[in-house]
Each structure stands twice: as structure tokens, then as C-alpha cells.
């Protein structure tokens, strides 16, 4: 029996290859995702292991703010350092500081791309030794030295290359203070690499670093100039990390304020943080891999259904000569297992290529990821093999079962076609599935369960299945309608194409269903993007009163500006009001929330904030302003106490309530810049907004502001329209990335079309031979096959469009409260989606069409 399966496979290499290809692509993507994330993880892990290699104990503050942007921790008192150094067994102890610092080369151009991922750091220089991963190297023949005075720095080797800097030369450094020029006295390497993960690093004396990072002097807070982020301790040989941590803990005391970790713990914690932040990325890509595999299910199911139908007589003959139903079933399943194993193995190999491709693609979209040697984990291979083989085998179970039920007498019957009669039962099952999926989708979107995304995903999947089950019922009428113009336009060729599409409604519907998934998701993203863009436009138009926005080049979260910039812009005669705008995270009402900070006095000129209660412009350093929505939800009024937690827990007073609605850049919570300075260790403006004074022309205003920006090379001046456009561009970039990822699902559907057509052509060999014999030209035959593909893809696109519109509407509806206020299905773009689907159909029909046209007429008409 196995030999039969094997021979069958060998005899149908193309069918085998196409079926395997559809699975292989999904498996490749899955493997590629895991290989890439494992590789990145390993790179980071090694980097951090390296960074903390000589650290045995580590002292830091306990209080911190966690958010999706990372963790900000309170600083610790520098006076701990001399005490720690006297502990018995301590070889060395060093205070460390890390902060935002952007270098600019001699022409004023910023080094690196802060807006595109890789961070730009400033550090205090920790002398070469166990506690610093940085090693001074000679650069272009000049020896490096450590910074000795406050205007000397050491820089990373990658930046030295990028900025064409040299030892003895100058470098401008932008920090939260005013820009300053330093002398480069040294170049350092991070272990054996030029820079860790593409980040840039500028290292200065501890005193200079402390000057830069010193918290601002708020009225009631004295300047704290001797502070560190942490103190790293290296022990003498023979003392365990745990022992050293204990000794340090004894000296430091104040366990509520300080925590002391071992070097191993810090390393592990940092590594797990990286793992966590990468998991978002891993999960995101994995979803697309599973979408692709989901599409393959339809294709495999369809292929095996067709194969079983075509082999009806052969299988019946097997039954007639004594094979049991089980044996027949296993011979079909055996083929599926073989296809699955082969496809998975090929997918694993392909995955390694995909990993490289994904990295290149993400780099193209501005997400640059550092990677070292490619990591192919055993788990990755195992997962790929299991998933690929299971998907293939499970998809073939129903067709295999059908094969096992073939009656031996079928060997004597003449025609071998799939059952064309639809049982009403299936229509009902399809409707029920669609309804159930819709319920799950709605529950996930509107029911507010904690794992809403899971319900949405499940709902979408079940809806796809439901519509696919309904497909065959729809196929005949819909294909007839869609094929009508084809038949009218293309005459007999079109008519044959339409008749063939209608001929096996199941086959047509399943093939179309595979395409439906891709089209629906693309349509969904298209609608979602158009709606988001429309909402952003509306929000900017409605809420923005500022004439100009100063944004970090390339957008993103990496960049920012010294508050000096806003001060200088505000001081311009041409500007009536200006303020830095900062975003932060804090804890309130049991959750981590987003908070905005700006100058409350300038806000009235920059945003349409509609204060409804309290004195917004006079917001104090211990006061918070909240939106009317929050006031209602938390039952607060002006003067209420609101328990919050920034670095430490405190009660703030509600100073004002404003009607924010849903507006770009204005969230539910607001504090003044002074209040922000007091509560966050780093004071960087994410944006600066400016309103021009009465009578100042835009040109004059722009000229004046640009004058200031010369000192800030990462700053980009945008008027309202440009700002809006840059927001829209960001959305476009994101959407294009998703399109690129969904392309996989569409391509697999294309392979499905090719496979179905190829199988149908084999089945119609005689008929095609007849057509050729009585005078159909090759071109006509090719055209007929192509038109059949057009009808199938139109059918799939139509179903996909309907489902996609529904999904798009539901999701936009669900995100109304998140600021997506407009539902905009973009007609022309959706038509383009349909056109692309049809194009894919025609493209993948080329090969089968050629094969059909190449058919040897004599063989065809004599074929048994």
C-alpha cells in the first residue's frame, strides 16, 4: 500500500510540488520568524552578558515606572559609593549613568538614526577594568585616552566611523541641557564589536554626566548633583556573587529604597526584558505565518479532494480487489504525511533564507535589527516539522475519509466527478459557523474580555471557515453572474471558462476561499488605515491650534530635544506661545496610563483644550488636569485628591478638568512641565509646538524658528499640514509593512489557484484534446484557462471584500473610543485590491494555461 502511495507521488511531481509549496511557504515563514528572533535574542543576550560580565553586585533604586516604552528608575545617592568601596572583598565599585545624548558630526549632521530604533546614549566613562564593557582602542593610528576634563569624551567606534570623527577632533553633543561641543579624546569598542546593537555611545567624565543628568531645580526640590543610576561592584576572587550582594546590602541598608542584585540577576533580568520586548515582534510575525498556514489548509484540503475524485476508479479498483476502506484511507493519508514531511523539511531550510529576507524587509521599513550568527534552535525545527506535517495531514483527513467510503462498484462506473449535489445541511453549517464567528468577534471587540484579541482572532477564523463552507452554495450563482460579462465579451472562450468555473462549485469555492482570506485581511487593513488616517486628519484639524510642530526627524520614540529648544523658541519675538510636549507613563486607578505634559499657560494657544473647570493655565506642580471622561469615570472634581504613582506613590490634586474629546497629542491626563521634571529622571521634550504672534507671516516665523533649529540637527520644523502628513506617512509605513506580510497569504492562494487549475486540466485532458482537435487554437485555450482563473479570483475577491468590509467596520466601531472616529472604506483602493487579486489569479494561471495549451492532442484524445 505504501509503495502505491509513493509511486503515486512520483507520478505526479507537479501536483506534489505545488501542494508542498503552499505548506512550505507558511512553514518557512514560521521558521524564519523564530530563527530571526532567536538570532536577535542571542545577539542581545551576549551583549548584556558582556556588559555585566565583571559585575558581581549591583545597587539600584527600587522605585520605577514601567511602561511599553521601557522602565525608568529613580536614581541613587552617589555618597553610597565610597562606603561600598570600603567593603571587605570589593575590588572595584563604580557609579553608572545612562542618558539621552545625540552626537552630531562636524557639519552638524546627527550621527545614527534615533528616530529609527537604535538608541543614542550618553554614559559616564567607567575606567577600563572589570566593570566596563568598553575598551579604549587606537583609531586611525592615534592612541585613545580616557576623558580627563569635563569637555572631553570617548565615543564608540561605529559612530567615529559614521560621523567621520577623529581623536583630537570636536563633536557636538545634544543632551537635555543646551548643546555642547566636546573634544574626542578616545574611541572605544564594546567588547569586540564597534557598537552594541547599532546604538551610539558618547562617554564623559562622571562629573559631566552628573551635571547633565542632575534633576531640575523645582521650587521645592534642591539640585541633586551626586547621583547615579546604579552602582556596579566587582569582587576580589573567591567571593561568590551572593556573598558580595549580602555584604553590599548590609552597608547600603534602606531596603525599601535600594535593591542589591547579583551580577547574574541583572544579566538575567535584562535578557528577559529583551526577550519580552522581542516577543511582541515574534508574536506579530508568527500571526502572519499562521495566517499563511491557515490559507494552506484550504489548498491542501482542496487538492486532496480533487485527487481522490480523480482517483475514484483506481481507488474503487483497489477496493474491488480486496483493499479495506482503512487501507485506502491510509494510502491517501500517507501521501499527505509524505507531502507534509517534505514540505516542512523544505520549509525549515527556506526559513533560514526567509529570516535573512525578513531582516532586510524590516530594515527597508526602518526597523534595523542587530544580528550575529544565525541561530537555528532545535525547538524551531521541531515546531516547523510538527506544525507543517500536522497541517497537511489534518487537512487531508476528510478527503481520505471520503476515499475510504468509495464503493467497489465505482470501478465499473464511467464518470468520476466530485459530488455535485449540495446537501442543505452544509449551507446550515456554514451559516451557523459564520454566526458563531461573528458572535466571538463581537464579544472580543465589544464585550471587553481581558483576552479580546484572542476572541477576535478566533472569531475571524471561524467566520472564514463559515464563509468557506457557504462557498460552494454561492459558487454556482456568483460565478455565473461574474462569468456573464466574460462570456459576453470573450465569446466561446469566455463561455467555456465560465462553465468550467461553475462545473465543480466545491472546487471553485475552496480555491476562491483561500484567496478570500488574503483579500479580506488586506481589505481590512486598507479600511483600517484609511479610517485611522481620516481620524488623525480630523483630530489634527480640530484640536491643533499650534502653527508649527518641531518633531524629531523620522518620528518615532527614540528622539527628543533639550527643553532649551522650547525655551529659545518661546523667547522669539515672532512666537506668541511655545511649549515642549512630553509623553510619559504613570500608574493610576490600578493601571498604567499615558500622560501628557506641556506648559499649561501656552496650552490654550496650542490646542483646543476646552477647560471646563478649574484654572488650567495655573496648574501647579502637585496638580493634575484630567479629561471630563476621567472625571466622570473616577467621580472626580476640581480639588479632589487622586492617588497616582510616578516613581513613588503620592496624591495629586485635580487642578483642572478639560473636554479633550479624542485629540491627537492630548490624552486623558495632563501635568505641567515642572510637575514632570519633578517626577521623571529624564526631561526630554518629544515635540515642541509653537504659535506665531499676531501679524507674523508664516515665512518670517519659519525663518526665525529655523534659526534656532540650526543648533538641533535632529529637529524638523513642520507646519500643520506637514505634521499631519508626517503622521499619515507613519501610518502608511506601518500599513505597507502589513501588506508585505499579507502578500504571503495571497501568494499561497495563488498557488492554490495554480494547483486547482492544473488538476482540473489533467482531469479534462480528453476534453481539451477534443477542443484542440476541432480547431481551438493554443491561444484560445490559454485564454479560457486564464479567464477561469479570473472568475475564481473575482469570486474570492468578492467574498473577501464582503468579509473585509465587515471586519473593518467592526474594528473601527470598536476603536471609536481610542480615537478612530471615522469609518472610511476607500473605494478606489479596494478596487485596486480586487484588481491585484485578479492579477494574482491570472499570474498563477499562466503555468497551468501553458500546460493545457502544450497538451499533445493525440495523447489527449486517446487518453484512458
Amino acid at each position: 500500500m505504501f509503495r502505491l502511495t509513493w509511486k503515486g507521488l512520483l507520478a505526479h511531481k507537479l501536483r506534489f510540488a505545488l501542494t508542498a509549496l503552499s505548506v512550505m511557504l507558511g512553514v518557512s515563514f514560521l521558521t524564519g520568524t523564530n530563527v530571526l528572533t532567536d538570532t536577535i535574542t542571542k545577539t542581545f543576550n551576549e551583549m548584556f552578558a558582556n556588559a555585566y560580565a565583571g559585575t558581581d553586585a549591583y545597587v539600584r533604586a527600587r522605585s520605577k515606572i514601567d511602561s511599553q516604552f521601557g522602565t525608568q528608575r529613580a536614581r541613587i545617592d552617589g555618597s553610597l559609593l565610597p562606603q561600598i568601596r570600603t567593603i571587605d572583598g570589593v575590588l572595584d565599585a563604580q557609579g553608572t549613568l545612562a542618558f539621552y545624548a545625540q552626537m552630531a558630526d562636524s557639519s552638524g549632521k546627527p550621527i545614527g538614526q534615533p528616530g529609527r530604533g537604535a538608541p543614542t546614549f550618553g554614559f559616564n566613562w567607567v575606567p577600563d577594568g572589570k566593570l566596563s564593557p568598553w575598551k579604549l582602542v587606537s583609531f586611525k593610528g592615534v592612541e585613545s585616552a580616557a576623558p580627563a576634563s569635563d569637555d572631553e569624551v570617548v565615543i564608540d567606534k561605529a559612530s567615529a566611523h559614521l560621523g567621520n570623527l577623529k581623536i583630537g577632533g570636536k563633536v557636538r553633543v545634544l543632551t537635555q541641557l543646551a548643546p555642547k561641543e566636546y573634544m574626542v579624546v578616545g574611541v572605544a569598542m564594546f567588547g569586540t564589536i564597534d557598537s552594541p546593537g547599532g546604538a551610539s555611545a558618547v562617554m564623559m567624565t562622571t562629573r559631566e554626566a552628573q551635571r547633565i543628568t542632575a534633576p531640575p531645580v523645582a521650587p521645592d526640590v534642591p539640585a541633586q548633583t551626586n547621583q547615579f543610576d546604579a552602582i556596579a561592584v566587582a569582587s576580589r576572587p573567591g567571593i561568590s556573587q551572593e556573598e558580595m550582594a549580602l555584604r553590599v546590602r548590609d552597608v547600603v541598608g534602606e531596603p525599601a529604597r535600594y535593591e542589591v542584585l547579583t551580577g547574574a540577576q541583572v544579566t538575567a533580568e535584562t535578557q528577559s526584558e529583551i526577550e519580552k520586548s522581542l516577543s511582541f515582534f515574534r508574536i506579530g510575525l508568527t500571526i502572519f505565518a499562521y495566517i499563511a498556514l491557515f490559507v494552506s489548509i484550504f489548498i491542501i484540503f482542496n487538492t486532496f479532494s480533487i485527487i481522490v475524485a480523480q482517483r475514484l476508479r483506481e481507488l474503487a479498483l483497489l477496493r474491488a480487489i480486496g483493499a479495506s476502506g482503512r487501507q485506502v484511507m491510509f494510502s491517501v493519508l500517507g501521501e499527505a504525511v509524505l507531502v507534509g514531511l517534505f514540505a516542512s523539511a523544505a520549509g525549515v531550510i527556506g526559513g533560514i533564507v526567509v529570516a535573512a529576507g525578513l531582516k532586510a524587509m524590516l530594515a527597508g521599513f526602518g526597523i534595523d535589527i542587530p544580528t550575529g550568527d544565525v541561530v537555528v534552535a532545535r525547538g524551531t525545527v521541531l515546531l516547523a516539522m510538527v506544525v507543517g506535517t500536522l497541517v497537511t495531514t489534518l487537512s487531508a483527513i476528510l478527503p481520505a475519509r471520503r476515499a475510504s467510503k468509495i464503493a467497489p462498484v465505482a470501478a465499473m462506473r464511467d464518470v468520476a466527478l466530485e459530488p455535485n449535489t449540495r446537501k442543505a445541511r452544509w449551507t446550515i453549517i456554514g451559516l451557523v459557523l459564520t454566526a458563531l464567528g461573528t458572535c466571538a468577534l463581537f464579544f472580543g471587540l465589544f464585550g471587553g474580555p481581558s483576552n479580546g484579541i484572542a476572541f477576535v482572532g478566533l472569531g475571524a477564523m471561524v467566520i472564514f471557515l463559515g464563509v468557506a463552507v457557504l462557498g460552494p452554495t454561492l459558487a454556482r450563482p456568483v460565478s455565473k453572474v461574474l462569468g456573464w460579462p466574460v462570456a459576453r465579451l470573450r465569446g466561446i472562450t469566455g463561455e467555456l471558462a465560465r462553465d468550467n468555473a461553475v462545473r465543480n462549485p466545491r472546487r471553485t469555492a475552496l480555491t476562491a476561499a483561500a484567496l478570500m482570506i488574503g483579500v479580506a485581511l488586506v481589505a481590512l487593513i486598507t479600511i483600517f488605515a484609511a479610517s485611522t488616517k481620516a481620524s488623525v486628519s480630523v483630530a489634527v484639524d480640530r484640536a491643533f491650534k499650534a502653527d508649527y510642530v518641531i518633531d524629531a526627524k523620522g518620528g518615532g520614540f527614540g528622539g527628543g530635544f533639550s527643553p532649551e529648544l522650547a525655551k529659545r523658541v518661546a523667547a522669539l519675538d515672532e512666537v506668541s506661545a511655545a511649549s515642549g510636549l512630553r509623553f510619559g507613563a504613570f500608574k493610576v486607578d490600578g493601571g498604567t496610563k499615558f500622560i501628557v505634559s506641556a506648559d499649561p499657560k501656552a496650552m490654550g494657544d496650542l490646542f483646543d483644550i476646552d477647560p471646563v473647570a478649574g484654572d488650567f493655565p495655573a496648574l501647579g506642580v502637585n496638580e493634575i488636569a484630567i479629561s471630563t471622561k476621567i472625571a466622570k469615570d473616577l467621580k472626580l472634581e476640581v480639588g479632589s485628591r487622586l492617588p497616582v504613582q510616578f516613581l513613588t506613590a503620592e496624591d495629586m490634586t485635580v487642578g483642572a478638568i478639560y473636554a479633550a474629546g479624542q485629540r491627537e497629542g492630548l490624552s486623558d491626563y495632563f501635568i505641567s512641565l515642572e510637575a514632570f521634571d519633578k517626577r521623571y529622571p529624564e526631561r526630554i521634550d518629544n515635540q515642541v509646538l509653537a504659535h506665531l504672534a499676531e501679524g507674523v507671516t508664516p515665512a518670517a516665523g519659519k525663518r526665525a524658528i529655523n534659526e534656532v533649529l540650526i543648533d538641533y540637527p535632529t529637529a524638523e520644523l513642520q507646519d500643520q499640514a506637514e505634521f499631519k502628513q508626517s503622521r499619515l506617512d507613519q501610518i502608511n509605513m506601518f500599513v505597507n509593512l502589513i501588506y508585505a506580510l499579507l502578500a504571503l497569504a495571497v501568494i499561497i492562494a495563488g498557488i492554490g489557484i495554480a494547483n486547482t487549475l492544473a488538476l482540473s486540466i489533467v482531469e479534462r485532458t480528453r476534453e481539451l484534446g477534443l477542443l484542440r482537435a476541432i480547431g481551438m487554437t493554443r491561444a484560445q485555450l490559454r485564454a479560457a484557462v486564464r479567464w477561469e482563473a479570473v472568475i475564481i479570483s473575482l469570486f474570492g475577491a468578492a467574498m473577501g471584500l464582503v468579509v473585509g468590509l465587515f471586519f473593518g467596520w467592526a474594528i473601527v466601531e470598536a476603536l471609536k473610543s481610542e480615537g478612530i472616529t471615522e469609518f472610511v472604506p476607500p473605494g478606489p483602493q479596494l478596487l485596486v485590491v480586487v484588481a491585484i487579486a485578479v492579477f494574482v489569479g491570472v499570474l498563477f494561471a499562466l503555468l497551468p494555461a501553458r500546460r493545457a495549451a502544450r497538451l499533445d492532442i493525440l495523447k489527449a484524445i486517446e487518453a484512458e
Binding site: V415, G491, I492, E495, L496, D499, N500, V502, R503, R766, E767, L770, L771, R772, A773, I774, G775, M776, T777, R778, Q780, I857, L858, I861
Partner: protein, 249 residues
């Protein structure tokens, strides 16, 4: 290659020292071995011979479905043995009609659509009068809207004959058209074919191994081992049977 020219030729089709060799070296099979044969216009010719004697091969070569290895094949005055594939397709479509033993029809098309298929492929409309007369002659009027699966074997072959007649081809080639039919349906079809030759001046070349079928023709040529070994005019079934026996079949 004007039609007038071909029409002017008294011969509808002919092969001149045509050979067809399958395989190579040791496996070589001479399906046609330097055969020369002529088929007159407006005549019903039957090709007979033992199984494997090259009947189908000859028919395929004459009809432009296959190429001879050596020699020439003419349709009228056109030498089709040198035509390109594309020309051959058009010649088949416009000047030749076919009836095969089975699987003559496109299952998705109705009887009417099947009958007019070659003209549809050419983008031409069938001549209404001609269409009506063919359909009526074959008694298919009330079956026009049916699909092949709804027709009996005999009816299917009648549709195939109608299709072959529809474009008034120069020659209709039929390979064992009655091979799958019972004797009553066979007689019907053969009667129609003979009728088409007699009253419509149609030229028909038919392969058959059935002496009764052959007796409907005007002339029988006998093939053995890829060569013409004999022929007979105005055959009777007994005469044909006699001759076949003498050929050692």
C-alpha cells in the same frame, strides 16, 4: 492557398509515400510504411484492416492531428505535412470535421453549443438554414438544450456528426464512430453519414473494423502493416468480410 484552388482539385485528401515511424532503433514501429492513397471528393471511404495495422495513424496524419515521418499529406492542394501548428489548427477548425469513437463532446456545453463549437471558436455564426437542415436531418431539434450527460450514446454521436457537418468541411474524418454504439444507433448514424455524402456532397473518410459499417461506404481500402493491401468499390458486408478473411484476419 485559395479555397477555389482546393475546391478545384478532384481529390479531397491524399497521402504520397507517407511513412510514420514510432520509436527508435530496436523499438522502431512502422505504423505507416510508404503509403500512397487518394480520397475522392464527395465520396464515403472506409479504411479497414487488422488491429494495429495503422488505420488510426493514417487518419490522424490525414487530418493534421499528427505528422508523418516522411512523405507528403495533402488536403485538397494544401500540403499539410509542412504546415505549422497554428495553420494546422485553423485548417482543422475551418476545413475538417471530426467524429471520434467516444468523448466527442464538451460536457459543459449544450448539444447546440457543441454543434456550433468550431464556428464559435472561429468567431463565426452558423448559417441558419444549413443549421436547421442538419439538425432536422439528425432529428436533434428537441435535444438542442441538453447537455451530453443527458443524451444517449447514439444521440451524442449524432451531435458529433452534426458538429462535423456544421461548418461544411472539405472532409470529415471519423475514427470508429460506431465503435461504442449498439447496432440500431450504428445504423442510424451510418445512414446519416451516407446521406450527407449522397445529398450534400460531403466527403467522409471513416476508419472501422465492422464490415457492416464498411458496407455503407462507396469504397473500402484495406490496410495491413502500414501499407495499402487492397481496395474494393461499392462494398457489401459479406464481401468485406470475405476480403478481411483472405487478408488473414
Amino acid at each position: 492557398m485559395a479555397i477555389a484552388e482546393t475546391i478545384s482539385s478532384p481529390l479531397a485528401a491524399r497521402a504520397v509515400t507517407a511513412s510514420k515511424i514510432y520509436g527508435q532503433d530496436d523499438n522502431e514501429v512502422r505504423a505507416l510504411d510508404g503509403i500512397s492513397v487518394e480520397f475522392a471528393r464527395s465520396r464515403f471511404t472506409a479504411i479497414m484492416g487488422p488491429s494495429g495495422s495503422g488505420k488510426s495513424t493514417l487518419l490522424h496524419c490525414l487530418a493534421g492531428l499528427d505528422r508523418v515521418t516522411a512523405g507528403q499529406v495533402f488536403l485538397g492542394d494544401i500540403e499539410i505535412s509542412t504546415c505549422k501548428e497554428k495553420q494546422l489548427t485553423l485548417i482543422r477548425r475551418d476545413r475538417i470535421g471530426f467524429v471520434f469513437q467516444a468523448y466527442n463532446l464538451v460536457p459543459t456545453l449544450t448539444a447546440l453549443e457543441n454543434m456550433t463549437l468550431p464556428m464559435a471558436l472561429a468567431g463565426r455564426k452558423p448559417d441558419k438554414e444549413w443549421f436547421d437542415s442538419v439538425v432536422d436531418m439528425l432529428h436533434m431539434r428537441d435535444r438542442l438544450a441538453h447537455r451530453p450527460s443527458e443524451l444517449s450514446g447514439g444521440q451524442q454521436q449524432r451531435v458529433a456528426v452534426a458538429r462535423a457537418l456544421m461548418s461544411r468541411p472539405e472532409v470529415i474524418f471519423a475514427d470508429e464512430p460506431t465503435g461504442n454504439l449498439d447496432s440500431r444507433s450504428s445504423t442510424e448514424i451510418l445512414t446519416f453519414m451516407r446521406g450527407a455524402v449522397r445529398s450534400l456532397d460531403q466527403t467522409i473518410v471513416m476508419v472501422t473494423h465492422d464490415p457492416v459499417a464498411a458496407s455503407f461506404s462507396d469504397r473500402v481500402v484495406f490496410l495491413a502493416d502500414g501499407k495499402i493491401v487492397d481496395e474494393m468499390s461499392d462494398p457489401t458486408s459479406d464481401g468485406v468480410l470475405e476480403r478481411l478473411k483472405s487478408l488473414g484476419n
